[in-house]
């Protein structure tokens, strides 16, 4: 028997003109946790789908337990002992825990009639594999994400799984739940099961994995033991760039703060938050999901509530009642989910860019000046090098990074004092990420006050000259300059 459970060499896959996987080599050892890491769109999920039999590879060899596998189908993958736990967990929220656990094996056994006793037995057997206890008759949809995940793991174990692939399992979990999940993962690993853990979070990968395979643009750029890798190397492999060069250096900070927040409170969301912001600064606000960081931004933009405390803009105390009011007061906000909140995907690029400044582009009767709209939007297309040949095309034709540029230019069209960016590079590819960062640095140095809200610590560290850390709705730490490091932030969050 070979040292590896699964060994893949020279895997190649193209979708039309896109080279999704470029001769990827990949191997998993039994009883080890292997992390498949990489930025969004690097080919991770394509590779997983080839292993699970959803896609067929164009080229390359696959060895499972030393035996070559020619053609993998989903059924074949299950038979071999490969189980994928997808990000959405593939559960049925309307069925009971028992049914969720038993249904897959019942289908595989090609049963026609339901036998409750057998289902219950199967479900109990599944739960006993990791010693997990839960009401079998509870409705799946009523469980927490962490519980759903454990049920999904138990279900995978029913198939005598030798390799369990977990696709970004920690995305919707709290830190505590992540710890519990890792405990289960280690338990499985110690029982000899190979775990393939897909993630792009540095901390997690170093905590849980034995081996790591890093992918970038469809190629694997590193594979080997995690212990032999430093975090700096890791980031380099992930992004393909030395990030040090791009640290933000403020050159143009004003004396007087443009925005001052005093004891701001939204009951139940955040409380007693005070900070100030000067022109030319990039202020980072970070914290875990549910720490109140997004709610704080919403309140500054008139979308959230303010129960007590004050907001002062340019020395004048103000109340921000709505997004329109916020724009009048020269505050801009780029939301977290740019696709649903910030863009009209089925509308032309030009219209999207000019959306929040249409008032300046209308005739007396309120009809639009189309030529001027197009001209002005073309200026932005050039300035931000948005990758399109025609601004009449729909925004949906662009990549994530270019879409983010549209959202940014939409706001910069209006003269702003304060720009709030929430998760500005979520789902954006590496190149565009760097472009957006450089752009934000320029804007700040031209005199704009910027707030970046992000849980991507690397992003906060690189781009901010000051960082506020939030936890449970309150500010628990603030750091500036050299004191801003991922470790320092993590120490406060934990």
């Amino acid at each position: 028997m070979s040292e590896y459970l699964l060994q893949m060499t020279g895997i190649d896959k193209r979708f039309g003109g896109v080279h999704a996987l470029d001769h990827v080599n990949f191997a998993v050892r039994p009883g080890k946790v292997m992390c498949l890491a990489g930025e969004n769109g690097c080919g991770k999920s394509t590779l997983v789908k080839i292993i699970s039999g959803v896609y067929t590879r164009d080229e390359g060899e696959v060895l499972f337990e030393g035996k070559p596998i020619q053609h993998i189908t989903p059924a074949e993958a299950t038979r071999l002992g490969i189980q994928v736990i997808y990000q959405d967990l593939s559960i049925f929220p309307n069925l009971t825990v028992m049914e969720n656990l038993a249904i897959n094996s019942e289908i595989t056994a090609n049963r026609k009639i339901v036998n409750r006793k057998r289902w219950e037995q199967t479900a109990k057997e599944a739960l006993s594999k990791i010693g997990y206890e839960i009401d079998l008759y509870a409705k799946m949809g009523d469980l927490s994400v962490a519980d759903k995940q454990l049920v999904a793991i138990c279900r995978a174990l029913l198939f005598n799984a030798k390799l369990i692939i977990m696709d970004e399992p920690t995305t919707a979990l709290t830190k505590k739940e992540v710890d519990a999940l890792f405990k289960t993962v280690r338990q499985l690993r110690d029982s000899g099961i190979a775990i393939m853990f897909i993630s792009h979070k540095t901390e997690e990968i170093f905590e849980i994995s034995d081996d790591v395979c890093i992918m970038r643009n469809g190629k694997n750029v590193y594979s080997g033991p995690t212990a032999e890798l430093t975090k700096k190397d890791f980031t380099y492999y992930m992004t393909g760039r030395e990030l040090e060069d791009d640290y933000f250096v403020p050159t143009n900070i004003s004396k007087e703060p443009v925005l001052k927040v005093d004891h701001l409170t939204w009951n139940g969301k955040f409380h007693d938050v005070s900070f100030d912001l000067r022109k030319g600064e990039i202020l980072g606000i970070t914290g875990l999901l549910g720490s109140g960081r997004t709610e704080l931004a919403l309140s500054l933009f008139g979308l959230g509530k303010v129960h007590s405390g004050t907001i002062t803009l340019n020395g004048q105390q103000v109340k921000i009642t709505s997004p329109i009011d916020a724009q009048k007061k020269r505050i801009g906000y780029v939301p977290e989910d740019r696709l649903t909140e910030g863009l009209c995907l089925r509308q032309p690029i030009a219209d999207n860019i000019m959306l929040s400044s249409l008032k300046q582009l209308t005739h007396a009767l309120g009809t639009l000046k189309h030529d001027e709209l197009f001209e002005k939007s073309n200026e932005w297309v050039k300035k931000f090098s948005i990758a399109t040949d025609d601004a009449h095309k729909h925004a949906s034709t662009l990549s994530g990074g270019n879409q983010q540029k549209i959202v940014l230019s939409k706001w910069l069209n209006n003269d702003l004092d304060v720009l709030i960016l929430n998760g500005p590079t979520v789902g954006v590819d590496v190149g565009a990420k760097q472009d957006i960062h450089a752009l934000v640095h320029d804007l700040a140095n031209q005199g704009l006050a910027v707030i970046i809200i992000s849980d991507d610590l690397a992003e906060v560290v690189v781009n901010c000259n000051r960082v506020i850390v939030m936890k449970d709705g309150a500010i628990v730490g603030e750091m500036t300059g050299d004191r801003i490091t991922e470790e320092n932030i993590l120490n406060i969050i934990r």
């Binding site: 059924a75 559960i91 049925f92 309307n94 009639i113």
Partner: protein, 339 residues
């Protein structure tokens, strides 16, 4: 019964619908001074009328229920029923069939319904289209075939004798104590009971039934779990088509007439009833019991309005209210589940 079981039961819509039905029965019983149920002879003129109304509506509701559980909407089953029964009675009449028994008529109606259902199933499973839009299209298409292409006529007094006789079969007969007019409990109620039993067994005890719930809950997961979603949907819609043909023929026999236009708009009273009975508009939820209870409530109300001294125009008002309440509750439950 332990506590957890009781708690789960009280969270279900059908539990409350059942209580509403009981309360309504009590109300009607009191208001009509005992006309709903008499002792010892349980059947009365009023309750056999309610049951009679429930036969066709209840059976149609089963069609709608299974489709809704799978996460779809079928707007075309009344149009399928209408085309199937109008065409098959016309054929029977022209050939002199069904003089003694309606078997040929039923066989034809089921076959026609099946073919039409297969068309639905083929379009929906192959092209992965929104079921509501597809069946809205086929509904109009089928109505167009029967009205325009085939120009099917109303058949009333000339309906084959075998069909008429079959529709008049009864399992209970009595006379109204006040007026002395004879009334009967139609034997067609047995078909409703049998269908409910079959559908209930199918949904709860067969893997096909669980597949419908699984697909309605999460189609992608159902596919990953190993269900053949395409095949299941095709089978579902073709079976519903065949069943609709059968139900249509039952209605022809019961009413002793075949009217091509009689089914137009029927889906708009059936679907709300199914939703009221606890089926989710997003799929994955619904029971035979809840559906029957909801159909019972609607039949009871519409048949006892006169007795309760309510103008029958209020029926529209009541139906509208049912749609709003049913859909709102369904949507709120789905929202709660998402959180």
């Amino acid at each position: 019964m332990n506590n957890a079981k009781l708690k789960r039961m009280t969270r279900k819509t059908e539990f409350y619908m059942f209580i509403v039905l009981i309360l309504l029965c009590v109300l009607v019983q009191i208001k009509s001074s005992g006309q709903l149920i008499t002792f010892p002879g349980i059947f009365t003129r009023l309750n056999v009328t309610v049951l009679r109304t429930m036969v066709v509506d209840g059976m149609f509701a089963m069609c709608s229920l299974v489709v809704m559980i799978s996460g779809g909407f079928d707007l075309s089953f009344p149009a399928i029923a209408a085309l199937a029964y109008s065409l098959s009675t016309t054929i029977c009449l022209n050939n002199g069939w069904c003089a003694t028994n309606p078997l040929a008529g039923f066989a034809l109606a089921v076959a026609i319904g099946w073919v039409l259902g297969m068309l639905n199933g083929w379009i929906i499973s192959n092209f992965k289209l929104n079921t509501m839009i597809v069946t809205l299209g086929t509904q109009t298409f089928f109505t167009g075939i029967s009205m325009g292409l085939l120009k099917l006529k109303e058949i009333t007094s000339t309906l084959p004798d075998g069909m008429k006789a079959f529709g008049k079969l009864y399992i209970f007969e009595s006379a109204d104590p006040v007026t002395g007019i004879r009334f009967t409990l139609s034997a067609m109620v047995l078909f409703l009971i049998a269908l409910c039993a079959i559908v209930s067994f199918m949904l709860n005890k067969t893997m096909f039934g669980r597949a419908l719930y699984a697909i309605g809950g999460n189609e992608v997961s159902a596919e990953r779990a190993g269900y053949n979603v395409k095949k299941t949907k095709f089978l579902l819609y073709s079976a519903v088509g065949a069943l609709a043909g059968f139900i249509g023929m039952i209605r022809v026999c019961m009413e002793s007439q075949s009217i091509p236009k009689a089914m137009i708009g029927k889906e708009m009273t059936i679907i709300p009833a199914v939703i009221l009975g606890g089926a989710s508009i997003y799929g994955g939820e619904g029971t035979v019991f809840g559906t029957v209870v909801a159909v019972g409530i609607i039949s009871l109300v519409s048949n006892s309005m006169l007795i309760l001294g309510i103008d029958t125009y209020w029926q529209q008002f009541f139906n509208g209210l049912v749609i709003l309440v049913g859909v709102t509750v369904s949507a709120l439950q789905a929202k709660r589940q998402k959180q």
